[in-house]
Chain length 144, copies 2
């Protein structure tokens, strides 16, 4: 590619059940190995960020995303200790079910007390932003 | 960097004056050489997308961005003929003034009839999305 080097593009997916529990994984690999995190990962070349978000959610939790709503873009250079990444976060409408961990996830579960657990990266902020959007947005979640 | 290859990260900046004219540049280089486009460009490693948006706007038009509001994320793999890019688009509050073209811009101007000019890339869609946000959002433009 003739492009200059840019931050690596990632995506994170936020899903809440009807009681406000958040769907989280436990990271299988460093950094933050064993810690709670949002399902997500790198966007492939040739893939939209929305497709990557759905793919990562499904690979790591077995849960399929319905409509997606853009929460925000997180690009602080120090957000990932491995190097500069930029994450596009989406709030996903899902049919709550029993998650099944896969790929980079050692575990996947609905977490009720997500506000108090120690989350990897800047995921506590992303989750808080997503919850604000969820409570403000009501049912008008639309796919971009 | 130990990261897998991802789409290249870019940003585009939308600014309207009080009459709804859009701040556009004419591209100095291929692709779409000579055509109207939004000010924007590649995000540098070590730079937030918001900082890149402000930098590109200033380099290409001489206009300084105030508060920024996220418009959307545009990542269709075919949106740039050079390869896969993902653009983060922001609506910027600016003090309208006489633009001065620089860097990758051969010209910079406020364009009243932007709906009918032939815009590079997917910039017609980005501009339309930004205008919707502007007319819906009123004065609640906030910096992320």
């Amino acid at each position: 590619m003739p492009f200059p080097q840019t931050p690596a593009l990632t995506t994170d997916c936020i899903a809440f059940d009807e009681n406000g529990a958040a769907l989280l994984i436990r990271r299988k690999n460093p950094p933050y190995e064993g810690q709670f995190a949002l399902p997500g990962g790198f966007v492939d070349v040739g893939e939209t960020v929305e497709a990557a978000c759905r793919r990562e959610l499904c690979e790591e939790t077995g849960i399929k995303a319905g409509t997606l709503r853009l929460v925000g873009v997180y690009s602080a250079p120090d957000r990932d200790p491995r190097g500069h990444t930029c994450s596009i976060a989406f709030l996903a409408k899902v049919t709550p079910g029993q998650p099944k961990a896969g790929d980079d996830a050692a575990a996947a579960q609905w977490v009720t007390d997500w506000r108090t657990v120690d989350l990897a990266f800047d995921h506590a902020k992303i989750l808080a932003d997503a919850e604000r959007l969820r409570t403000v947005g009501g049912d008008d979640i639309t796919s971009p």
